[in-house]
């Protein structure tokens, strides 16, 4: 909530040598944030942001009380001068109207009938309202707004003769009632709004939100019913939101206002009508007050104050701060017994609320800064730290030329690529494109590729969650790594190699690549029989991969093993064989390795047509191998490949 007020208006209630700039700065530091200080002729306008828990500060008087307290404690003299309003003498005056209240709806009603003259407001009042973003209409309406701005409590004025009713009954509206508010707009009521009806059961007011056209003052008004209603905040919020009428009165009333203020607002209004509208009280003052705010008291201990704030603030200082803010209090031993004033009854409920008042007026800027002392109760082992491995994988991909993407977790039905009823679905999506929680990352990345048409070569990746619906409870959120490569003649082996290196770097061995279980061209990836994910060849220039990162984390480790270095050099040779292309390389390698313990490594060195060349490393731990040693093994290899795979040797 923002409020704009003139500096000169504020100074009606605070006497201080402080400049407007000083006031703005001190308020921002210790109370409400002054968003803007604007020069206005010889004056200034403060634009102040008031938090929703402090409706009492949506007023000149509230800000004045804070300003005076703050300035005093920060060393600048200041005095708060509250309104002093005598009750008018109404002895012998008649009672014109009976108000029937429903205490469930309205906490307090103060009202009076007055004779008035309608005219323009005086210039100073117009200026104060208009700089406060309130339009000046005529002196009668202006008084209600001026009262609201000064005291923080909304006020209303009826044309008493247009009401032409002996009673005014407060009740909940029925669904389907039609009303026309004073701004000329028609509304169909939802039911439950607080309304006032006259003798003929016509709705004449939408309480706490806006007056109605059928009872509003006009240029012919002679007598008014000046009316202050303190309403149940929940009824007001519901009605204001569902009708879409966000008047300033509604915004204040829905926060819950101090019922004690109602009488002050009434008396101040009477004084203003007398001053600027030739007003004369002609009825008794009505005050129906079923829901009095109960006096609350909170006990605060010195030790609690110290432990929350972090330094020792003597109780005498705390006590002074609180009384300046309007909290009566008493020191008793090491405790402070604090009475909560009615205007703070909605936001001060617990010890911590009182401590906040003490700390902020003492000045947060007067407190030292000190890091909390370190107390480790949690050890930090990298192996179980997902963030450690995430960073490692992201860095590796970056240094291999990949660019990281962040795409939205919410996707369209099209990007979901699956039955919609199986997806976690947003009930109130922002739009169709952001309706389902995705179950895979690759579709989003492929969209990034198609959105970046100009680029002929793209390597992108993302590490994010996918969301799987559970029959019971929260969905499963699975950390997932996906990537897409787009380039001419993209190779499956390039992506396979990438996955292998990535996982090798995380200490993961025992990887297996099998023909894709999804049926397309590509591979399913496994670690020790556990399914990890897929490589998918989409066409000759587009390949993607997606792996379950939580499975990766399960196997990732930092274990390193030392093996003594070999003292004797290896013998290395290549053997080329021609075998049926359906026989997998890994099968041939396994067969070759099986032939002797002295074969320490076999890799596919080259592949050309049907011919595959294997690079074979022979090594003995304790001696130099001779040609004869190797010749024997070679013979064995050739025989087994011929017998088992009908291989021919080149």
């Amino acid at each position: 909530m923002n409020i704009k007020i003139l500096d000169s208006w504020l100074r009606d209630y605070v006497k201080t040598p402080a400049t407007a700039r000083e006031i703005a700065e001190k308020l921002s530091l210790t109370s409400v944030s002054v968003e803007k200080l604007e020069k206005y002729n010889d004056d200034f306008i403060y634009e102040i942001e008031v938090t929703t828990n402090r409706p009492d500060l949506m007023s000149i008087l509230g800000i004045a009380r804070e300003t005076a307290t703050i300035l005093n404690h920060l060393g600048i003299k200041a005095e708060f001068m509250p309104l002093k309003l005598p009750k008018p003498d109404t002895k012998g005056l008649a009672n014109f109207i009976e108000i029937k209240n429903n205490p469930k709806l309205v906490n307090r009603i103060c009202a009076v009938v007055m004779e008035v003259k309608v005219k323009d407001s005086p210039q100073f009042l117009k200026e104060r309202l208009e700089t406060s973003d309130i339009r000046s209409l005529n002196n009668l309406i202006d008084v209600t707004n001026y009262v609201m701005r000064t005291t923080g409590h909304p006020a209303h004025v009826f044309d008493f003769d247009r009401l032409s009713s002996k009673t005014l009954t407060i009740k909940e509206a029925a669904r389907g009632n039609r009303i026309k508010t004073l701004d000329g707009k028609e509304h169909l009521l939802f039911g439950g709004e607080i309304v006032a009806v006259n003798d003929r059961n016509e709705i004449v007011d939408l309480l706490g939100i806006m007056g109605l056209q059928n009872s509003v003052v006009t240029s012919n008004t002679k007598r008014i019913l000046y009316f202050i209603d303190n309403n149940d905040k929940f009824h007001i919020r519901k009605a204001s939101m569902s009708l879409g009428v966000r008047s300033e009165a509604a915004i204040l009333n829905e926060k819950g206002l101090d019922a004690e203020l109602a009488c002050e607002a009434l008396l101040y209004g009477i004084k203003l009508f007398e001053q600027i509208a030739g007003g004369k009280v002609i009825s008794e003052i009505i005050d129906i007050y079923p829901n009095k705010t109960l006096d609350a008291e909170i006990d605060v201990s010195q030790s609690k104050i110290n432990s929350v704030i972090g330094i020792n603030i003597p109780l005498s200082i705390s006590s002074k701060i609180l009384s300046d803010l309007g909290f009566e209090n008493k020191i008793s031993g090491d405790r402070l017994k604090v009475k909560i004033p009615s205007f703070r009854s909605t936001d001060i409920e617990i010890e911590e609320d009182i401590i906040e008042e003490i700390a902020r007026i003492y000045g947060y800027h007067n407190l030292p800064s000190k890091l909390p002392s370190i107390q480790f109760s949690i050890t930090n082992n990298s192996v179980i730290n997902e963030f450690f491995f995430e960073k490692r994988v992201k860095d590796a991909l970056k240094y291999w030329g990949f660019t990281e993407c962040y795409t939205y977790s919410m996707v369209s039905a099209q990007l979901l690529e699956g039955p919609e009823q199986e997806a976690v679905t947003i009930q109130n999506p922002l739009n169709e494109d952001l309706t389902y929680m995705r179950k895979a990352l690759v579709p989003s990345l492929l969209k990034v590729v198609s959105d970046n048409k100009k680029h002929h070569e793209i390597k992108i990746f993302e590490l994010a969650k996918v969301y799987l619906k559970e029959s019971n409870g929260l969905p499963k959120e699975i950390s997932t790594l996906a990537g897409v490569i787009k380039k001419t003649n993209a190779s499956f082996y390039e992506v396979k190699g990438l996955i292998e290196q990535l996982l090798t770097d995380l200490g993961i061995r025992n990887l297996a690549f099998k023909n894709s279980q999804k049926g397309g061209l590509g591979a399913s990836i496994y670690v020790e029989k556990e399914y990890l994910g897929e490589i998918e060849v989409l066409d000759d220039s587009l390949i993607d991969f997606e792996i379950n990162f939580e499975t990766v984390l399960k196997f990732a480790n930092l274990k390193k093993e030392y093996k003594p270095l070999n003292k004797y050099p290896p013998l290395i040779e290549d053997i080329s064989v021609v075998v049926d292309s359906d026989i997998k390389t890994e099968v041939l390698i396994a067969e070759i390795k099986k032939q002797s313990e002295l074969i320490t490594d076999v890799t596919l060195a080259d592949k050309f047509g049907d011919s595959r060349t294997f690079h074979i490393v022979y090594q003995h731990p304790d001696k130099n191998l001779t040609n004869e040693d190797v010749a024997k093994i070679r013979k064995q290899i050739i025989t087994s490949l011929k017998e088992n795979f009908k291989a021919s040797i080149k």
Binding site: T51, G310, I350, S369, Q375, F376, L434, V448
Partner: protein, 362 residues
């Protein structure tokens, strides 16, 4: 013997020819002509053969030695010449280099890494909690009243699932503060478990939390300064006598570490449901350093919210608010990122547009 000498000559010559640099050549020389080189040893053996043959073999040995020495010299000249040739070639230093591949991490990742490393140094432990959460974690346990506007349809995304009788509706968490509740619940549960284990000794370490929760959050808005998905980082410190003074210390430490030594922070009163007192945290403007300029509000920029953990949040998670206090802060990763020099992005949605021209700038 003669045959062996010839063999030595042949092997040596082939090694010499294979030597691709002077160092290898030197090694080859030692291997054959050194004090315990193959040829040197063989020549020593000549004394063992019969006198009549000795002369002949001696001559052969000499010839072998000369041949090897000549070959080495020759090779040495060639290799030196080769090096000189390389050194004599012209290099156009302005031609492009041959680069290893270098991709790009997203700005958000870069910010998260920087933030994490700053807080890790003062003992914060990273955590991550569900993005799809129960109302209990997102609101109720955080002291939001049932009719609070944050629960409105136009603020928070709701999930089309049956509500849980105990934990309410499923929502996309609108803030990382839901992680506060998860972290406190986890700590309380762990403490109970530990207490059972050592019930014999009765030792109790008490509650001590230093969490840094960085995660995706979601709110129902999209404009130049909002995206429906964004990231927050949430700090939570709980213990005995954790105070506003400690919060100020932590904020100062972060602001100076992340934005630079010259920057200052301050806290102002504010209002949040789950902290009491609550603060708004400001940082001095990077351009005017607090003096006030066109880009800031009288010298200060708003960073985000913070506060002392509300006793109702402690109660909801089973921590005794009489014994423990704590502070928390939760700020936008995107927000602190944009407050860094040089990254004043005019439309936040660009961060999630995944335009390569954008991503490749960083």
């Amino acid at each position: 013997m003669e045959e062996e000498l010839i063999n030595i000559k042949n092997t040596a010559l082939s090694f010499i020819l294979e030597a691709e640099d002077l160092k290898t050549l030197e090694e080859v020389k030692l291997q054959f002509l050194g004090r315990s080189g193959k040829l040197t040893l063989k020549i020593k053996d000549i004394t063992k053969i019969s006198a009549e043959k000795r002369k002949e073999v001696g001559m052969l040995a000499n010839e072998v030695k000369n041949t090897i020495e000549d070959a080495i010299k020759q090779r040495e000249v060639n290799l030196k010449h080769k090096t000189e040739k390389v050194l004599r070639q012209k290099i156009d230093v302005s031609n492009p280099g041959i680069k290893p591949p270098l991709g790009h991490l997203h700005l958000v990742t870069q910010a998260i890494e920087e933030i994490s490393s700053i807080f890790e140094k003062i003992g914060f432990i990273r955590a991550r909690y569900p993005e799809i959460e129960w109302d209990w974690y997102a609101f109720t346990a955080l002291n939001f009243p049932q009719n609070h506007p944050a629960r409105d349809d136009w603020e928070t995304f709701f999930i089309k699932e049956k509500p849980s009788p105990e934990k309410g509706q499923m929502v996309l968490t609108p803030h990382t503060s839901s992680g506060q509740v998860r972290e406190m619940e986890r700590t309380v549960a762990k403490r109970k478990e530990l207490a059972r284990e050592r019930s014999a000794t009765g030792v109790d370490d008490g509650i001590s939390i230093r969490m840094l929760n960085i995660a995706k959050c979601y709110r129902r808005q999209s404009d130049v300064s909002h995206t429906p998905m964004f990231h927050q980082f949430e700090g939570l410190v709980v213990g005995e006598n954790i105070s506003i003074v400690n919060l100020k210390g932590t904020l100062d430490y972060f602001v100076k570490s992340y934005f630079g030594e010259k920057r200052k922070s301050r806290i102002r009163p504010y209002h949040f449901q789950f902290t009491e007192p609550s603060f708004e945290v400001d940082v001095t403007c990077g351009v005017c350093l607090g003096k006030g300029c066109k880009l800031c509000k009288a010298g200060w920029l708003e960073l985000g919210g913070a506060g002392m953990v509300h006793p109702n949040v402690f109660k909801a998670t089973g921590i005794d608010p009489k014994k423990y206090t704590g502070f928390a802060f939760g700020w936008g990763v995107e927000r602190v990122l944009m407050m860094k020099d040089g990254i004043e992005i005019d439309d936040l949605r660009l961060l999630y547009s995944n335009k390569l021209e954008f991503l490749e700038q960083f």
